[in-house]
């Protein structure tokens, strides 16, 4: 029973509802710890669930906008620390805890889960250096997987173009934070590989707390990196811990500047490198040609020096050949045989003389002189007798005896011819007339044949 003084004007439902809301208003930015149950996703992208402890339960609501921003989406049976405000929905008469941030209840527990994932991946060899893909020395194009709105993308682009002014860059916008980030990153990695526009991927984020970096510690992202055909370079900022993405990635850097220098060489350096080689090549060529020319000149000089000697040697050989040819000719052969015959003749004579001498010696040695003397004496006596006889005949036949008888012998004075007929001379010729004693010179006055 209401007392009269208490009988004030009653609240309308709306008035009371507003009163409740006003009363609950201080309960904003409240941290509430509890286990999640009955997680449901609404048609507009929001989530409804209950947060409970052992005795109590409070309904919770997560707007779609906030759901995209939270580090992780609550899952049934897990304990989280939620930040939010208490709100009263007057049209439904329900009280809700409207969540705007979700944090892991127990970071230690999360780290333990992370360590477990790390161990599993390590056992698979996911961190092994030999598994890592090689970062191309000079890529055709670079893919950047990062938030399209952050400073990271600007810094990366700046660094890349500073080092390599004509490098192509493809940006794959991804969520780098929040519950949808792992899926967003994994999908972009797959797309990047499928499109093949670039040949190296930079996965970047500007650092953050352990919770903010959560996506890079998920198995989903780790698997997407491992499955990538293209090498992945991480650039996740200065964080207290290396993420799993860093461990499975092919190269790790911290800042966008680091990442830029990992994936793109300095073009000016390469140009210097090529210029240096071009100079070496040109130098080598000119030196080589100079050396070759020098060697040729030396050879030419030697040839010039050797030429007369060569010609002389050839001439001598020719002369020898001509001599040989002459020796073999028929005329020369006949001459040679004649010489040879003459030589034999000489040798025969010498041999005969030798023999005769030898025979003479042999004769001498047999006391030949005495016998010869006797024989010769006999011969001489015979010859004397023959001579005597002949002398007598000679006297008988000699003209002297005829002359003594008054005959004379007339001879031509010039020719000495004995004249036997007058016709054998003529008038004027001189004659010699031999008498028995003395001679007369006469001249023919008359011829009477």
């Amino acid at each position: 029973m209401l007392k009269p003084e208490e009988a004030q004007r009653p609240y309308t439902v709306s008035e009371l509802s507003n009163e409740i809301r006003r009363t609950l208003r201080p309960l904003t930015a409240v941290l509430l710890k509890g286990e999640v149950s009955g997680m449901k996703r609404g048609a507009k992208g929001h989530y409804t669930f209950a947060i409970r402890d052992g005795q109590s339960l409070i309904n919770a609501f997560l707007w779609a906008d906030d759901a995209r921003k939270v580090t992780t989406l609550p899952e049934d049976g897990q304990v989280f620390v939620f930040r939010g405000r208490v709100d009263y929905w007057s049209q439904y008469g329900t009280l809700r805890f409207v969540v705007d941030q979700v944090e892991f209840d127990d970071v230690g527990k999360l780290r333990a889960r992370l360590e477990e994932l790390k161990r599993r991946l390590e056992a698979e060899g996911a961190f092994a250096p030999e598994r890592k893909r090689k970062i191309p020395f000079l890529p055709d194009a670079v893919a950047l997987l990062t938030s399209p709105t952050g400073a990271v993308i600007h810094d990366l682009q700046e660094t890349i173009w500073d080092r390599y002014p004509n490098m192509s860059v493809y940006v794959y916008p991804v969520l780098v934070q929040g519950a949808n980030a792992p899926m967003s990153i994994a999908r972009a990695l797959r797309r990047c590989n499928a499109e093949g526009l670039a040949d190296v991927i930079v996965l970047a984020r500007g650092g953050g707390s352990f919770e903010e970096m959560y996506a890079f510690n998920t198995e989903l992202v780790a698997r997407a990196i491992l499955d990538s055909r293209l090498p992945v370079v991480t650039a996740l900022g200065h964080t207290s811990d290396r993420t799993i993405a860093d461990l499975v990635g092919d190269a790790e850097s911290r800042t966008p500047t680091d990442a830029g220098s990992r994936v793109v060489p300095k073009k000016a350096d390469l140009q210097r490198q090529l210029d240096e080689r071009r100079r070496r090549l040109d130098r080598d060529v000119s030196q080589r040609l100079a050396r070759a020319a020098e060697r040729l000149a030396v050879k030419r000089q030697r040839l010039l020096l050797l030429l007369p000697a060569i010609v002389r040697r050839r001439t001598e050989r020719l002369a020898r050949a001509a001599g040989e040819l002459g020796r073999l000719s028929p005329v020369a052969q006949v001459a040679r045989r004649q010489d040879s015959l003459r030589e034999r003749g000489r040798r025969l004579d010498t041999a005969a003389a030798g023999r005769l001498a030898m025979a003479a010696n042999a004769l001498a040695s047999r006391r030949a002189p005495a016998r010869v003397e006797r024989a010769l004496a006999g011969r001489f006596a015979g010859a004397e007798r023959a001579l005597e006889h002949r002398a007598q005949r000679l006297v008988a036949l000699s003209p002297d005896s005829v002359l003594a008888r008054g005959y004379s012998i007339t001879q031509d004075a010039e020719s000495g011819a004995v004249l036997r007929a007058a016709a054998e001379t003529r008038v004027g010729r001189h004659l010699k007339i031999r008498l028995a004693a003395g001679r007369l010179g006469a001249k023919v006055d008359e011829v009477q044949p």
Binding site: Y170, L197, L270, R288
Partner: protein
């Protein structure tokens, strides 16, 4: 042959030929061959440097408009 080479591969070939020329005892004919090859690889390297066309392209995912 040289068409498929990356910058790094072509540079390696270029260096091989340079080393042959500088250390090797090549005949003039072989040396000229090495020089010709080196020049080809040098050209490939130079072309590779200029092959990229500066551009930036955003490859947004039509199925994932969230970012």
């Amino acid at each position: 042959m040289s068409e498929d080479l990356t910058y790094e591969q072509a540079l390696e070939k270029l260096d091989e030929n340079l080393k042959l020329l500088e250390d090797g005892d090549l005949s003039l004919e072989d040396a000229l061959k090495a020089v010709e090859a080196a020049r080809v690889y040098l050209k490939v390297c130079t072309e590779r440097l200029e092959a990229a066309r500066k551009k930036i392209e955003i490859r947004a995912d039509p199925n994932d408009p969230t970012p």
